[in-house]
């Protein structure tokens, strides 16, 4: 049993970074990730970590710095959100393309415009094709646990890819809850000593990183990246099991809640899945066979497993806290539909976009989603394959809107 503390998501992440004690951290503070950088800088100033902390002038520079440090042969981390992640964009692809095991917590936040500092997953969903592993956490404890696991996953010989550890901005990042810290030496032993693989600074064995690879070899490099990503699936599971033996907490690539005998189900990422558990309990108490699947590993995407876990449902709603304007639906919705196409038996699938810009996602709001699914099962027809949950105008109904913005209703 470790130490029980009260921590926000950001403090939980900063504590994990303290225990990881990376050689180099280069970071720029941005809402809602700011506290991570602030707390970690205090650890550096107080001498509780040995990290070389590089206060950079932008996120493009922070990612560039950790790329350089990682290639040089040390453990390097940064943290970001939203516009900061957007500013890192071209460097994200370079980190992955160079197969550098950089670990980066991301407090998920909406992208401008209009300016919004609150939580949605548009930022990291946009980076889904960058070659980074993406793990989405449901609460403060999981953000802490996952950051520690991410070091092992990223640095695994068969993976060697950067990892984003995503947690909902404000909803988790600024919410205080009780959580358990492992002992410092437990974390140290779990992550192990960093092994430099082909370090750039090993002048006796000179190597080059990121040389020109045109039509002759670029394709092979990208193909190898894909294979590393595929191998990450098993590594995520192995690391999760080993971590569970240490901590008693297990998180795999996805988490099921009352799913096995469910007739209707919701698939969602992040903290909304935690709220949805309460909805499932209420519906089960009413005799409704409701289930929930929380996807934790969006990259790599567990396509075969999801097809197996979801095919028995009569109706499924995939909820996306990000949109892809002009597409068939949200990024998760589109992919889950594709995964199910190979199943002989599959549910009716609808896709809801929700919670953009931090729009409150309440028990009542998620309940309306299950009601949609119950109606589909009753009538056998799908009226709205894609819907926007609790938004003004468009295809919302009044009840959803009421459920969506109780605070706006209550206090404004």
């Amino acid at each position: 049993m470790g130490k029980l503390i009260a921590a926000t998501g950001n403090q939980a992440v900063a504590q994990a970074m303290r225990q990881i004690d990376p050689h180099v951290v280069a970071a720029y503070p941005i809402t809602p990730q700011t506290d991570v950088v602030e707390e970690f800088a205090a650890f550096v100033a107080d001498g509780v970590v040995a990290t070389e902390f590089v206060p950079v002038e932008s996120e493009h520079s922070s990612m560039s710095t950790v790329i350089g440090a990682s290639a040089a042969g040390v453990r390097a981390m940064t943290a970001t959100s939203s516009q900061g992640l957007a500013l890192m964009w071209e460097m994200l692809y370079i980190a992955a393309g160079l197969r550098l095991p950089i670990v980066m917590p991301v407090a998920n936040r909406a992208l401008s415009a209009p300016i919004n500092i609150h939580g949605d997953q548009s930022d990291t969903m946009g980076a889904r094709d960058s070659g980074w592993i993406q793990l989405y956490c449901k609460n403060q404890q999981e953000a802490y646990d996952t950051l520690i696991q991410a070091i092992r996953i990223a640095e695994h010989d068969s993976v060697r890819l950067p990892v984003m550890v995503c947690y909902d901005g404000f909803i988790v990042s600024h919410s205080l809850a009780g959580m358990e810290l492992l002992e410092d030496d437990q974390v140290k032993a779990f992550i192990g000593k960093h092994k430099a693989l082909h370090p750039l600074l090993d002048t006796k064995n000179p190597v080059t990183y990121g040389p020109l690879a045109l039509f002759d070899y670029y394709f092979e490099f990208r193909r190898q990246l894909v294979e590393g990503m595929a191998r990450a699936a098993n590594v995520i599971e192995e690391v999760a099991e080993e971590y569970a033996r240490l901590s008693g907490r297990y998180y795999g690539r996805y988490e099921k809640y009352n799913m096995d005998d469910a007739e209707i189900g919701v698939l969602v990422l992040g903290s909304a899945a935690s709220t949805a558990e309460v909805v499932v309990d209420e519906l089960r108490a009413q005799g409704v066979k409701a289930g929930l699947l929380r996807l934790r590993s969006f990259r790599p995407f567990p396509k075969a497993e999801l097809a197996r876990e979801l095919s028995h449902l009569k109706a499924l709603c995939v909820l996306d806290r990000a949109d892809s304007p002009g597409a068939l639906g949200g990024p998760v919705g589109v992919e889950v539909r594709s995964a199910l196409l190979e199943s002989a038996k599959r549910p009716a699938v609808i896709n809801g976009i929700f919670g953009l810009g931090g729009r409150d996602t309440t028990v009542d709001l998620i309940t309306t989603v299950y009601h949609r699914l119950m109606k589909i099962v009753d009538t056998g027809t799908v009226d709205e394959p894609l819907f926007y949950l609790g938004v003004r105008g468009g295809n919302n109904n009044g009840r959803e809107l009421e459920a969506a913005i109780p605070q706006a209703r209550a206090t404004r």
Binding site: L4, A6, P32, I117, H118, N139, D168, F170, I171, V172, H174, S175, L176, A177, G178, S271, A272, S274, T275, E277, V278, D360, T361, T362, V363, P406, Q407, R409, A410, T411
Partner: protein
């Protein structure tokens, strides 16, 4: 589950109050959640914060729309902000107010529920010499909503501020808690 909404003005410590209560709940072995409502805050602007306390693990990650208790740190918000919104007939409104609960009810425009008042500003001035109303309001809250005991909260104040404030100021905070606990009035 006990759900509390805190109303204050930026800089008055509504967020600290929500966190103080949450940490005291942890000390008492309960589950908790505390979070501010972030918007374009600046010092002096109306702000809200929320606390949830339960014996069971708390899984809900959304705002508190229908609180069991509303706590008002700043009397100048009364009549300006819809303080009673979301409160049920069993709901409790507790305000820092220099007057009777009946007067408070009238000013808030509240029909059902229960109303309590305590002059936390006076208590804070007399004990701490500053109008820091968050600690006395937590003390008063312990009287009207018994999620925790006053002693559990005092233990947490000593733990939370023990390293940061000098001993006399920690004692003054504890005195403010106790006085508000004793002086809060219901209808």
């Amino acid at each position: 589950m006990l759900e509390i909404r805190w109303h204050g003005r930026g800089g008055q410590g509504a967020v600290t109050a929500a966190k103080l209560l949450a940490s005291a709940a942890m000390r008492a072995g309960k589950n908790f959640q505390a979070f501010p409502e972030y918007g374009p805050e600046r010092r002096g602007a109306p702000v809200q914060a929320f606390t949830r306390i339960d014996d069971e693990p708390i899984r809900v990650f959304s705002g508190v729309a229908e609180p069991d208790v509303v706590v008002v740190l700043d009397p100048s918000l009364i009549g300006k902000v819809p303080l009673a919104s979301g409160l049920s007939d069993e709901g409790i409104l507790l305000a820092n107010f220099d007057g009777s609960p009946q007067e408070l009810r009238e000013k808030v425009g509240m029909e059902g529920g229960k109303v309590y008042s305590v002059n936390a500003t006076a208590i804070a001035m007399e004990t701490m010499g500053k109008a820091i109303t968050n600690t006395p309001m937590v003390g008063a809250l312990m009287k009207v909503a018994g999620a925790l005991t006053i002693d559990q909260v005092i233990d947490e104040v000593r733990a939370m501020f023990g390293d940061k404030l000098k001993a006399s100021l920690v004692d003054a905070n504890v005195e403010a808690l106790r006085r508000a606990y004793e002086e809060v009035k219901g209808e």
